[in-house]
Symmetry: C2
Subunit: 245 residues, 2 copies
DNA sequence: CGCATACGGAACGGTCCCGTATCGGAACCT
DNA sequence: AGGTTCCGATACGGGACCGTTCCGTATGCG
């Protein structure tokens, strides 16, 4: 095991070496498994997907070659392509951003910025690849959805509910629809745009624009409606905060 | 030619039979090409993609089988998979909705409704498939983008510019960002959601919410800001129109 | 009618991949 | 040292697909 683990251990850093699949018994007798081979394979998959490969082009042979690993070593750790892809997904399951709860607006900005960051690099490449194969590999998509999407969606809904309680968000619209207003533009741009140096407007602008739209209308919503023209002026930049808790 | 053209000619209806690729000379001598085979192949590709097949699973043999057509017949009309896919994309190039220009809001609703409709059926399946393979097949994605995306994006921008001229849309934000606010939620939901009976909030709600957010803020934007609390009340349903021209 | 061409079907050689097996060597435990 | 296991590499039989070519048949033009 020399050629593996050549890349900067992006994954290896976040995973305890040795906890990879397979019968890694404690009282093992012979030569122990290389701690680097597993992460090297995961990393190779991510590198290939990032390079634009679709799932169909991800042959086990190519993965092993890219990882600098024998094919048998891959099969020794994973039962097949499905099990491997599952662990690739889990390797991307990083905790979400801290939401201090001080300001709904700031939490939304943090969430969207986190989403954009995750959707920018290899996360975006994987998301695109999986979206394209969601029909062909439903359980893989379900795994992705349950592992990476659901938690963040729940976090977003929690923030939005706080906004509703504060009176910053109108109650006469479905909360899921409002959530789509925030995440939709970020996801759509990540998925569809040139995704190589694509221009990105700041998350703060997006949040401010949408917040303006989902604010309770006068004479309708429940809570206290902030002053109608209290918004920031016309200037650019992420000027004043609005409606803190 | 008996088994082809079995499906309801969804594509054949919109294409002049006989204009399909290949040396279809006018003064041809022998047996003329079947007018049904070409559309049957296109239809088969769409059917397969709609059924969840990724590009890698779209073998020429499977396409021919699905179309009830010999493989040689496919190769007689198209030089290969790339040329075939190009024509599949073009078969989906339907004209956009009529934008009467009477109301910016109504035009936006019409555009989004059209977008959602196109992104709901086979258009959505093809979009997902292509997004997944955009890295592997850049020229195919470029063809899709130029054929189907660009025109509608330009139409949307034109409507938004009218909104700017009317004073319905603030000028201190990038128009592309504002366009993303409208299209992003629709596209993201079409691409990511369960896409089998996925719940959809009406386009009108989306337009009204976003329009509220992109309205010029008091004391800043150029045009006349419509009355602050002029919006519709809290009720559900697609109530009153706002800010007609 | 007769010919030219298209048709569906089947086969070709070639390439790639799968999942398994086997190799010589290397690493680790007892 | 000896035994055991993992390592990368390579080879295997089986299968799918590619793009082409050849059938025997069907069909329309001149």
């Amino acid at each position: 095991m020399t050629r593996a683990a050549a890349g900067s251990g992006t994954v290896a850093d976040s995973v305890v070496a040795g906890e990879w699949p397979g019968p890694a018994a404690p009282g093992r007798r012979g030569r122990p498994r290389s701690a680097a081979a597993g992460p090297a394979v995961i990393e190779a998959v991510l590198r290939l997907v990032e390079g634009g490969a679709s799932l169909g082009e991800l042959s086990m042979e190519r993965i092993a070659r890219e990882a600098g690993v024998g094919k048998a070593t891959v099969y020794r750790r994973w039962s097949g392509r499905t099990a491997l892809m599952r662990d690739v997904l889990r390797s991307l399951d990083v905790p979400g951003p801290p939401l201090d709860g001080a300001s709904v607006r700031d939490d939304l900005v943090a969430l969207l910025e986190f989403l954009r960051g995750g959707a920018a690099g290899r996360g975006c490449a994987l998301l695109r690849t999986l979206v394209g194969h969601a029909g062909a590999q439903p359980e893989l998509w379900a795994e992705y959805h349950d592992t990476l999407v659901r938690a963040r969606h729940e976090a977003l809904l929690a923030v939005l509910r706080r906004g509703v309680a504060n009176g910053e968000i109108r109650t006469d619209r479905d909360l899921e629809t409002i959530a789509d207003l925030f995440t939709g533009p970020v996801l759509a741009r990540a998925l569809l745009q040139e995704w190589h140096g694509a221009p990105r407007s700041p998350s703060a602008d997006l949040v401010d624009l949408v917040l303006e739209g989902v604010r309770p209308v006068a004479g309708a919503g429940a809570g206290s409606t902030p002053g109608c023209s209290a918004g920031l002026g016309g200037g650019a930049g992420g000027a004043g905060r609005r409606g803190a808790v």
